[in-house]
C-alpha cells in the first residue's frame, strides 16, 4: 500500500488530463512541436494530432465515418464541401478575442461568407520552382507559365521539368496561361488546355506531387510546378547540402492557384470549448508565426508578420503583394459530371 499510493498519486493527473484532450485532424507537419507544447501548458490539456496528406483523403475518411475529431484544417474548397454537407458547427466569435488579427484580405472568403465556420490559418501558392543558377545560364525567363508550356523554352530543359500529378492544378496553370480563369469549366477551353499540355508533355520528365522537392535539391530537375512551401523546403535542403546552385521560385505573371487552409470545428466535436481555445491561441501573433517559420507557409495573420523570419516574410511568392493577389484564384470543387469529363481528359494526357 505504501508503495502503491505514490504510484496512484502520479497517475492521478494523467487520468485528469486524459479527459481534457483536443483531437486535431491536420496536414502532416503543420504545427511545430514547440507550439503544441506551449498550447498544452497554456490550457492544461493534451493535444492529439492525426495527420492527412491530402484534402481528398481527409474527406474520404470522414465520409467513411471517422469521428472523434474536434478540429480539422481543410483547404477552401474542402471547407465549402464540409459546410454544404452540414459536417461543421459555427465558430463562436465571442470566444475568439484574437480574431481581429486576421488580415481583412483573408476574411469573408467565397467558401465561407462572413467566416461563420472557418478561421484562416495558412496559405500557399501553386507556382514554379527552379534551379536559378541553371536558368540564368540558359537565359530563360522564370516568371511565366511559358517556361513549362512553350516548346521553345522547353528544348534546353528536356527531361528536367516536373509538373504536378493533379488534373485540377495542371489544368489551372494551362488555363491561366491561355488567358482563362482557373475555374473555367467550358469544355472547349479544357480541350485547348489539354492540347497545350500534350504539346509540352514530351519535354517533361514526370508528373510528381512530392518527389520534386528532392529532385530540385539534388539538381536532377531544373523546373518544377509545385507548392510554395515545398519550394521553401527544396531551397533549404539545397543550401544545407552546400549545392553549387540556388533554388528560386516565382508566381507566374499570368496568375496562379492560391490555397487557404482554415481551422473548422467538427459538428460532432467532443470538446468545442478546447477547440475554440486552440483557435484563439493560434490566432495570437507569435503562435501564428510558427507555421511560416516552420514550413514556409504564407500567413493570413497580421500580428504574426513581425515574428516571421525575414527570409520567409520578404519572399513575394509567399506573401504576395496586393497587385499579385488579384491574379491568384482559389479552386472550387467540380460537380460529378465535370469530374468525370476531366478524368478522361487526364487519362488522355497521360496515355498520348
Amino acid at each position: 500500500m505504501k508503495r502503491l499510493l505514490p504510484a496512484l498519486l502520479l497517475l492521478a493527473p494523467l487520468v485528469a488530463t486524459a479527459t481534457d484532450t483536443l483531437h486535431l485532424y491536420i496536414w502532416n507537419n503543420y504545427i511545430s512541436a514547440q507550439t503544441a507544447t506551449r498550447f498544452e501548458a497554456a490550457c492544461g490539456c493534451r493535444l492529439k494530432q492525426d495527420y492527412y496528406s491530402d484534402n481528398e483523403e481527409m474527406l474520404a475518411k470522414l465520409e467513411a465515418g471517422a469521428t472523434g475529431y474536434d478540429l480539422l484544417v481543410p483547404t477552401g474548397n474542402a471547407v465549402e464541401t464540409l459546410i454544404r454537407k452540414g459536417a461543421l458547427q459555427p465558430v463562436d466569435r465571442s470566444r475568439l478575442p484574437h480574431f481581429a488579427n486576421v488580415d481583412p484580405a483573408f476574411r469573408d472568403p467565397w467558401f465561407d461568407p462572413g467566416n461563420r465556420y472557418s478561421v484562416p490559418y495558412a496559405t500557399s501558392v501553386t507556382l514554379l520552382g527552379y534551379n536559378a543558377t541553371k536558368l540564368t545560364e540558359l537565359g530563360l525567363p522564370t516568371d511565366t507559365w511559358a517556361l513549362i508550356f512553350e516548346p521553345a523554352h522547353l528544348v534546353p530543359l528536356k527531361g528536367r521539368v516536373t509538373v504536378l500529378n493533379s488534373p485540377r492544378e495542371l489544368m489551372a496553370a494551362a488555363l491561366r496561361y491561355l488567358g482563362h480563369s482557373a475555374q473555367d469549366t467550358d469544355p472547349a477551353h479544357w480541350r485547348a488546355a489539354r492540347d497545350l499540355i500534350l504539346r509540352a508533355k514530351p519535354y517533361w520528365a514526370t508528373f510528381s506531387n512530392s518527389t520534386y522537392i528532392k529532385d530540385l535539391a539534388l539538381g536532377n530537375i531544373w523546373v518544377a510546378h509545385g507548392y510554395s512551401n515545398d519550394m521553401v523546403r527544396a531551397r533549404a535542403d539545397a543550401r544545407a547540402a552546400g549545392r553549387p546552385f540556388a533554388i528560386g521560385f516565382t508566381i507566374p505573371k499570368e496568375g496562379a492557384v492560391l490555397a487557404v487552409d482554415s481551422f473548422v470545428i467538427d459538428r460532432a466535436a467532443p470538446r468545442p470549448d478546447l477547440a475554440h481555445r486552440f483557435i484563439d491561441f493560434m490566432l495570437q501573433g507569435d503562435n501564428a508565426a510558427d507555421v511560416s517559420n516552420l514550413i514556409g507557409a504564407g500567413n493570413p495573420n497580421r500580428a504574426a508578420r513581425p515574428a516571421i523570419r525575414p527570409e520567409v516574410a520578404d519572399e513575394p511568392a509567399i506573401f504576395p503583394p496586393a497587385e499579385t493577389l488579384t491574379r491568384l484564384e482559389m479552386l472550387r470543387d467540380l460537380d460529378p459530371r465535370q469530374r468525370r469529363l476531366l478524368a478522361r481528359m487526364w487519362t488522355e494526357i497521360k496515355v498520348k
Binding site: 474520404a60 517533361w204 514526370t206 529532385d215 536532377n220 460529378p336 468525370r340 487519362t347 497521360k350 496515355v351
Partner: protein
Amino acid sequence: MRGSSSTAERGARLTRWLVTAPPALFLVVFFLVPALIMAAASFREPGEFGGLAPLASTGLTLEAYRFVFDDVIYLEVLVRSFAVAALTTVICLLLAYPLALLIVRSPKRQRDRLVLLVILPFASNFLIRIYAWMMILGPLELLYTPFAVIAGMVYVHLPFMILPLYTNLEKHDPVLLEAAQDLGAGAWTRFRRVTWPLSLPGVLSGAALVFIPVLGMFAVPELLGGTGDLLIGNLIKEQFLDNRDWPLGAALSLLLTAAVLAVAWLSALLTRGRSAS
C-alpha cells in the same frame, strides 16, 4: 457397429468442414463480398461529395460502362497494362529459373542460406526499396522511363517467381537425370526433355504470382515512371482517391477483375492439360 462407423464418418466430415471453412469464409468475406459491393457500385451515379448518389433519387444506370466503352482510351490502358505484366513475367522467369536451379543444386546448408537471401528484401519496407531504386536510376538518367517501371516491377516480384520454382525443382528426382544421361542425352536435351516439362507447374504458379499483382500495381509506375507510364492500377486509384468517382473506378476495377480471372482460368486450364497428358 453401424453407429461407430457413422460416428467416424461424421468426425471426418467435421474435420473436412473445420479445415475448409476458414479459407472459404475468408474468400467470401474478403473477396466475394467486396467484389459484389464493387459490382453494385458500378451501376450507381457518383455522389456530390464522393461516394455514391442516393439510390432513390438517381436509380441504377449503365452510365459508367457507357463512359468506359465510349472511348478506346481505357481499353488501350488495359492492353498496355497486360503488355507490361507479360514482359515483367517473362523477365522474372528468365532471371529466376537459372537462380532457382543454382539454389537447388548447391549443398544443403548453402541452399537454406540462399533461400534466406531471396526473402531478405522483404525485411525492409517496399517504398523504401523503391526510393533506393530512384537513387540508383537517377544518376544513370534512367529514372522516369518505361525501363525504370519494368526494372522496378521485376525487382519487386522476382522472389514470387523464384520461390515456387525452387519448391518445384527441389522435388525432382535426380535419378531421372542420371537415367537420361545413361541413355545418351546431352545437357541441353536433359533440360529440355526432363527438367523443363517437370517444372511447368512451378513456372505457371510463379507466372500467376507475378502477372496478377503487376496488373494492379500503381506505386511503381507512379514513383519510377515518366509522363506516359499510366497503368490500369493508377487509373483505378485516381478514380477513388483523387477524382471521387466511385462508379467509374468500380467499373474499371471489374474490367480488371474479369481480365485477371480470365488469365487465372487460362493458367488453370493449361496446368490441368499438362498433368492430364
